[in-house]
Symmetry: C2
Subunit: 482 residues, 2 copies
């Protein structure tokens, strides 16, 4: 039984105190590497605290690598701590402060200047597409929600149509007409709780024996989804002009999933020649192009890249999401089906239950149709443009220059760092992770194209401040220099 004296917690939050007690016991060796912790329920009963408190403490310890969760068995003190017992004991919390000092020394990064989150944050995460809190329009959203819950009660509690409420589909059609240069029929728009959900419907409509093609490297969740479907999958290499389309015909591909406006994670725009060849291929073979237009809203310079659907609506399924522009917590995406696939949708899916709550659909519909969405995009585009510029300056003029080339066309929230000298991925990424910086290698997004991915890293800067990136760049450069 593990019981801690809660009287001693002082004015810390309870979970933090329990976290610290456990951490210190692990560091001191009182809790042995590999030993099992009490279940969260047991721990909460033994200490007379809520289970959520224990859950939070455990989660923090997992994040920091002190303990690990083993499937079906519970929580254990991490087994790889043995090798570092001494270091762990002798350097309590030294990692961050050391880094800060060195950094302050060399690059003018002064702790006092750094915003609170940069100093307190245990982790600067360049590997995920979360959005900063200040980007979300809380006040407007809250105002609209309240209005709908007061004035539109009967709409609010109606079961939503499977393909989404008409009001939202009309709002989306209007937005696309104003912003993306094509005007879809709202009847052809299907709303769902994410691109993965919609993709699985699409796979179901095109038929079980169809061969499908994906970008390599590409969005891992989509690739996993396609791979776990009954379809045969072909992984097509991507270069700086987008997907290499030559081999599609050879492989008898029926549908290809691409992101022409801003390839993820490479950050490139598909060249005009490749676009043309893709459309030619689709028409020649009566095949389908699933055009994932995600992130196209964040083009910071020049004119927007027109989507494929604007040139050929007959063979293109246009897909986009609000999770990347509003918040990843809002689970609303949509796709636009050409006639033949729409008929398939009607046959198989139109009488299913809706998949997105009515309140959220109504809120988003008003948010778009009252002009807030486009204002939001303008505001956040400016915000990210500034952030991107500052971060590019750090890469090209700061500690990383000479070490890395910057790749990608500068639109969207991601770019690539290409190391000039060969780096061992695991050593490098582990070493920066220990100092609180998380980064994914391009290989993490690859299916086959590992050679191409060598020494390339994917930076997602959407949720990272200039100060945080300055610190991250310092840690990265130190690790690469060795």
């Amino acid at each position: 039984m593990l019981i801690y004296d809660l009287e001693k917690k002082g004015d810390k939050p309870l979970y933090e105190y329990i976290y610290e007690c456990l951490r210190d016991d692990i560091r001191s060796g009182a809790l042995k590497s590999g030993s099992k912790l009490p279940s969260r329920r047991q721990m909460s009963l033994d200490n007379g605290v809520a289970e959520i408190t224990v859950a939070n403490a455990y989660a923090q310890l997992v994040t920091e690598g002190y303990i690990e969760s083993r499937e079906k068995r519970g929580f254990f003190v991490s087994s790889d701590l043995d090798a570092f017992t001494q270091e762990i004991e002798s350097l309590p919390e030294a990692k961050e402060s050391e880094a800060d000092e060195v950094s302050a020394d060399r690059k003018g990064y002064r702790k006092a200047d750094a915003p609170e989150e940069a100093v307190h944050s245990k982790c600067i995460n360049l590997s995920v597409g979360s959005l900063p809190e200040e980007s979300f329009p809380f006040d407007t959203w809250s105002k609209i929600v309240r209005r709908i819950l007061t004035e539109e009660r009967s709409e609010c509690i109606k079961a939503p149509e499977a393909r989404g409420m008409l009001r939202l589909r009309e709002a989306i059609a209007g937005y696309l007409s104003r912003s993306r240069g094509f005007t879809p029929d709202p009847e052809r728009i299907i709303v769902g709780p994410g691109t993965e959900y919609l993709s699985s419907i699409l796979l179901n409509i095109i038929g079980r024996n169809a061969v499908v093609a994906l970008e390599d490297p590409g969005y891992k969740n989509i690739s996993n989804l396609y791979e776990s479907s009954p379809h045969e999958c072909v992984h097509v290499p991507v270069d700086e002009n987008g997907m290499i389309t030559d081999t599609l015909s050879e492989n008898n591909v029926k549908m290809v999933h691409v992101s022409p406006s801003h390839q993820f994670p490479m950050g490139c725009v598909m060249s005009a020649a490749r676009r043309a060849s893709l459309i030619h291929w689709a028409n020649a073979g009566q095949a389908w192009i699933a055009e994932d237009d995600y992130d196209s809203e964040y083009r910071f310079e020049g004119r927007p890249v027109p989507p494929l659907i604007a040139s050929d609506p007959g063979r293109v399924i246009y897909m986009n999401t609000f999770s990347k522009t509003l918040s990843p917590s809002i689970r609303i995406s949509y796709m636009i089906l050409p006639d033949e696939l729409y008929s398939g949708y009607v046959k198989k899916h139109i009488f299913q239950s809706g998949s997105v709550s009515s309140l959220e659909q109504l809120t988003l519909a008003s948010f778009i149709s009252e002009g807030y969405y486009e204002r939001h995009l303008n505001r956040t585009r400016n915000m990210y443009r500034k952030r991107k510029k500052a971060i590019f300056d750090i890469v090209q003029g700061g500690e990383l220059s000479g070490l890395f080339d910057l790749e990608g066309d500068g639109s969207g929230m991601t770019f690539l760092l290409h190391s000039k000298k060969h780096v061992d991925d695991k050593v490098f990424l582990d070493s920066i992770r220990k100092r609180g910086v998380r980064l994914n290698s391009l290989a993490d997004y690859c299916y086959n194209s590992f050679d191409f991915a060598r020494d390339r890293y994917v930076v997602n800067f959407s949720s990272v401040t200039e100060e945080q990136f300055l610190y991250a760049a310092h840690v990265i450069s130190e690790s690469v220099r060795g």
Copy 2:
């Protein structure tokens, strides 16, 4: 081009005026049966009104059968109006008032007494499970949403876990422990936007070549979903004791989807013997029982029926939803996976994107953990109990007595009307539908068991007031008497 003089609309809503203009032109024959209407977009441009206004007017005309939407082609004046041109012209809006008068005559149903919705409603729908507006706790919900959008901003915009946010899973576990007699591990709970979504995940986990069994009659959306999966489906007949389990072993079934607490649409509880045989079968053959516990909250008399999972968590996947107790507009359901299936979930699905918005998850979590959900259930249980009693009194003591037997155990929102004399489904249902009453025959929920379904009709009373049901009963009895 169809242009109407909008000056003449008076103080009617614009959509209603356009609806009336079109309806009158159809009745008078100015718009010929089978002729194409302008697209909603064109109509809106020609008349200088919003497209949504036209969409609403068209929708109303579709509902009333004046026009029909043809896939990919647009809207047409209904082609079956020709036969009734005279009646339609000579009896403008006669259907409802006539019915009201007759009803007032015979059964003490006085127009002045009827609540507004009964008089104005174009349709009394006994075929769907929508919930009455007064059942939803708008004020509490609104208060919690606002609080979360103000005080929990960082939680609000975080991407939710694929299986649902821990806070919601813990709240659900707590509720089940207090109300359903078993305490699941929150780790094993998977949250999704509906039972169909969760079922498709389940089908994916149990493996592609497994045979699955369904109740016949049963919930149509689930049966369609299973049928459109790569799995072989067996449709097992249901009698008044629930699913007839004898044949499961013969058919090499790997998973069965059942609703033991309240079979839909039969309304019966699975007998203890059948329960025992089901659990025996699952253990003997290492098979799975997907226990759909939907509607179990609305047991009006006696003790709650314990779920199968309480007797054998090893082979049971427990499923339930908030769409039936809170609102069909809220797309949150959950399932609880036994160990083996949970491992499969972790492998294939745990890294997918979440499928339910964080704001709605957080709101529901607070709603449950602060005690509102159980209070809501008590309040609505009382409301539906009264409604059910009044409606049963009408069936057993009013115009329907002698014509129909009432079947089902009286729990939940549905029961069966079993006609004592043989009725031609199509003639009967069309005739009541023309007088504004919608009802489904039991055959609509059947896959093979049509003999059993003969002369049986499914009544869903959740959204129908006593006055509306009185009118519906009158229309039904007149139609059956012929």
